[in-house]
């Protein structure tokens, strides 16, 4: 299976390990991640301003490329996924944004949200199947792992349609497929503090410590996430309570391709 892949800036700098292990694991599972040509920054948080159009254009460019190359766009970074999926929804349902974006881009054919944006976890669940991953595991994890969802994959839930925002289960199912024991703890979908850490680390410290303490209290030995910023906050501001890794690191480890 071949699929268009949008890595995003962070995965080329701070979060290289997320990108590297995701590619290794995908290859082991028979998925060919084809990095799209000339991608640009997704626009980070900026496309969420409804009156600003230029910042949405790079996301639409990537989406339009995928539309003509298989119809699906694979994302990995939680923030890129959130931005691209929401921009895609705007192109589908917000006539004003769609009109202005198309005017700027002058595409051969108007883009109207046709591409399906899927996160790597959704690809594992729906395209590969957790049962098949379970069969491909060579090093079952045999340890207690806490899933940390953060905010961006789950909300706004109507658009993201990723999982139940209050009681998600997809990462727990993923952990189970890898032979690990998922630890459900109450703060797995609380905010880590996000960008506030740029200005003031007190708040993210408070939030991140609470998350990791809660996971530890419920018996987790480590915590996994899909988001580079969450990983940063939990590692830097989380008070070293538990080790924090990308979910793809565990996937590559279980599949025996981490190296």
């Amino acid at each position: 299976m071949k699929i268009c892949y949008y890595p995003g800036c962070t995965l080329k700098t701070k979060a290289k390990e997320l990108d590297r292990t995701a590619r290794l694991a995908a290859a082991a599972l028979g998925v060919e991640m084809e990095e799209i040509e000339n991608w640009q920054c997704c626009g980070a948080v900026y496309p969420m301003g409804t009156d600003e159009i230029a910042t949405k254009l790079s996301a639409v460019r990537a989406l339009d490329y995928a539309k003509h190359n298989g119809g699906k766009l694979l994302t990995l970074c939680s923030a890129c996924h959130n931005v691209i999926k929401r921009t895609n929804e705007d192109m589908k349902s917000n006539a004003d944004i769609a009109f202005r974006a198309n005017n700027y881009l002058k595409l051969e054919e108007t883009y109207a949200g046709e591409t399906e944006v899927i996160h790597y976890l959704e690809m594992l669940k729906n395209e590969v199947g957790f049962d098949n991953i379970k069969k491909a595991v060579v090093n079952p994890l045999n340890r207690k792992i806490g899933a940390y969802y953060g905010c961006l994959l789950l909300r706004p839930s109507g658009i993201m349609a990723f999982d139940n925002p209050e009681n998600p289960t997809i990462i727990e199912d993923f952990i189970r497929a890898l032979g690990g024991t998922p630890v459900v703890y109450p703060f797995r979908n609380e905010c880590c503090g996000a960008y506030v850490s740029l200005k003031n680390s007190e708040l993210p410290k408070k939030k991140s410590e609470k998350i990791l303490a809660s996971a530890k209290e419920k018996g987790a030995e480590e915590v996994i996430t899909a988001c580079p910023l969450c990983l940063y906050n939990l590692q830097v501001n989380g008070g070293d309570i538990l080790p924090v890794k990308y979910f793809t690191e565990l996937l590559a480890e279980a599949l025996g391709v981490k190296a």
Partner: protein, 663 residues
């Protein structure tokens, strides 16, 4: 040739704003057969009806067409008016130029053109109408009440007091329903059992009421005035006629670990049990899943100790058939399952409970004898947090989109009672809106907040988590615009209510319609709120929509009034538009009998003359006009075209189609 009069109604501006009514009336004058055509502002008004009556007399009309609203609305009105002027009521046709035309179109020219077509179509049909006569069917003077909660009890008592026989079919071992589980009732705080149990006893002692407990409706046939109902009397393994309710079996039963449903599973009960002290009937029942004798064949202790020999492990379900004139559905509700709301920690923490569980914990006859204690450690909770709208007004898809209506009031009641009985307890209530309309209701809530010092917090709760035995309730305080966490000892979830799931099956049996939330649909939201669209079926209590006890009792009494109004009649006029077969064309295939949902079709052996003195005996169809509901299923099924429906004959329908196609 018919002399047809046409009457076009404006319906104020409902029709006239979109349809040029004068033009329609004028155009129609040219139709063959039309001898009179008129338009009027409100044809259904007394003046409008008079106009029709006068025209019938003055112009010797033999048939009329009224271009107005849906026939569901005023067909009966106009038939009555025609009858008063000496016309057969079935010589009236309605052209629906409101719902089918003016309301759904914007362009006046198009709508006018369509209105003309619709009226022409009705004219084409009325030309072929023939006078019809209604038959009569007898009324069985007995009512069935499905569900023995307060709604069913009230309806049964009112019907029985009017002198009619009533059967209450209750699926549980006792009547009483949800109200029997409640501690106090708002807004006057009377003890629920004190006001309910006397009514239960009244039911048991009433000579006109038969309580069929531990029973379910299995099959319903027939129609208004003549329902044939099959009832399953579930095996309780105890002879109801012998058991005296002495409870020695309950004491001696060695299998005591069954969850006590009546106490919401907060404690246990033996395998043989009477649900609660004031149960009606006061007769034991055995849970076969839990009974050692029934699972292994060894034990039989209850049988040994029973002084009257009431225990019968071999009892089987029995079926009885009864006839009823009317049916009241009062199947009630249950709190929703909380599987979709893990964030409140209900499954993981014993001290997160539902409001109905709290009722049992506060009830003197409950598992803690009325002393409010935490289920986990039996200690008195010092800080109690209530969360309202758990699953109500939920648009996420996890809960119910509607307001459960009773939660604001019972939460205020709980909060007040706790503050009254345990003044050292801190009580918080998270709410979206407090909705307390009703006589003395808002005063009640304000008393909780103002006099009893209950801390009302506007905002929703995000999660409840346990830290060292303390329940941390994290939520938002929207008025102070801050996120707060309340360290609590007990958390009470005001859980949404939903119709008792068995109502789906009952709705199917009764062909009563049901909405997307499983509430039974009333015939008209405002003007026929206790009638189901199925004639002879009435709705009481939460099965029709969320409501509290006073409303439920009112609705139940309203149902009773409707049922009494039906049962006092000796005969009901039957539908005149019934199926009518042409025996000469019938080939005896039985396909019509197979599709008839009402059992109106049978076959008979009949002798036919063939000419030349010869005769032949053939098997041909026969329709019972008292049972036929005029649905038309048989007419379209008949392969030889032998079946026709009076008032809706194939010829009439084809002429309507032709009239439309002429355009």
């Amino acid at each position: 040739m018919q002399r047809i009069g046409v009457f076009i109604c404006w319906c104020g501006s409902n029709i006239a704003a979109t349809v040029d009514v004068k033009k329609v009336a004028e155009t129609i004058k040219a139709e063959p057969g039309v001898v009179y055509s008129e338009n009027y502002q409100y044809m259904c008004s007394e003046n409008g009806q008079q106009l029709i009556k006068n025209a019938i007399k003055e112009h010797n009309l033999t048939a009329i067409v009224v271009g107005a609203c849906s026939p569901r609305m005023h067909e009966a009105t106009f038939r009555k008016a025609a009858e008063a002027a000496g016309l057969n009521p079935y010589m009236v046709e309605i052209a629906n130029i409101r719902e089918h035309c003016s309301w759904i179109h914007k362009d006046m020219d198009e709508a006018t053109e369509k209105a003309v077509v619709l009226v022409r179509t009705a004219i084409a049909k009325v030309k072929l109408n023939a006078p019809l006569m209604s038959g009569e069917s007898p009324v069985v003077k007995r009512a069935l009440v499905i569900g023995g909660g307060i709604a069913g009890i009230q309806a049964a008592l009112d019907i029985a007091d009017a002198g009619f026989e009533v059967d209450i079919v209750e699926k549980n071992a006792t009547i009483g329903g949800r109200m029997a589980q409640l501690d106090k009732t708002f807004p006057t705080l009377d003890c629920s059992a004190c006001i309910l149990t006397p009514k239960m006893v009244d039911c048991a002692q009433h000579e006109k009421i038969d309580i069929l407990s531990y029973s379910e409706v299995e099959e319903v046939k027939g129609f208004v005035g003549n329902f044939n109902v099959k009832i399953r009397r579930k095996a309780r393994y105890v002879d109801e006629t012998k058991c005296t309710g002495c409870k020695i079996c309950m004491e001696k039963c060695p299998s005591k670990k069954g969850l006590n449903d009546f106490n919401m599973g907060l404690n246990t009960r033996p395998a043989i049990y009477i649900p609660f002290a004031q149960a009606i009937p006061n007769v034991a029942v055995i849970d076969p899943e839990q009974c050692i004798k029934m699972k292994t064949g060894k034990c039989g202790i209850c049988q040994k100790f029973c002084g009257v020999g009431a225990i019968d492990y071999t009892q089987k379900d029995e079926f009885i058939d009864r006839q009823y004139g009317a049916i009241v559905v009062a199947t009630g509700f249950k709190p929703i399952a909380l599987d979709n709301f893990n964030e409140y920690g209900y499954a993981d923490n014993k001290d997160v409970i539902t409001s109905l569980e709290l009722e049992r914990l506060m009830n003197a006859a409950g598992p803690s004898d009325g002393v409010l204690v935490r289920p986990s450690d039996g200690k008195h909770p010092k800080v109690i947090t209530f969360i309202q709208c758990v699953g109500s007004r939920d648009t996420s898809g996890c809960g119910k989109p509607y307001c459960s209506k009773i939660c604001c009031m019972y939460t205020a009641k709980h909060a007040m009672l706790i503050r009254e009985k345990y003044p050292d307890t801190e009580v918080h209530v998270f709410y979206i809106d407090v909705r307390t309309p009703g006589k003395n209701y808002d005063e009640f809530y304000r008393r909780a907040a103002e006099q009893y010092g209950v801390d009302y917090i506007k905002g929703m709760v995000g999660k409840v988590y346990n830290v060292n035995g303390k329940l941390m309730v994290q939520g938002s305080n929207l008025i102070d615009n801050e996120q707060i966490t309340i360290e609590s000892d007990l958390v009470v979830l005001a859980t949404a209510i939903e119709p008792e799931p068995s109502v789906r099956k009952i709705a199917t049996l009764l062909t009563a319609s049901i909405d997307t939330n499983n509430f039974l649909t009333e015939s008209h939201a405002k003007l026929r709120p206790v009638e189901s669209p199925t004639a002879g079926v009435y709705l009481a209590g939460v099965c029709q929509g969320p409501k509290d006890i006073p409303e439920t009792v009112s609705q139940a009494s309203a149902c009773a009034a409707k049922v009494i109004g039906l049962l006092v009649k000796d005969k009901l006029k039957t539908n005149a538009c019934v199926a009518t077969p042409d025996e000469m064309m019938c080939n005896g295939c039985s396909q019509c009998a197979n599709v008839c949902a009402y059992g109106a079709i049978t076959y008979v052996e009949k002798e036919f003359r063939l000419g030349g003195g010869k005769t032949e005996v053939r098997r041909v169809v026969s329709v019972n006009p008292a049972v036929c509901q005029g649905c038309g299923a048989c007419t379209v099924t008949c392969p030889s075209g032998a079946m026709d429906l009076k008032g809706f004959s194939s010829k009439q329908i084809m002429s309507e189609v032709e009239a439309i196609c002429k355009m």
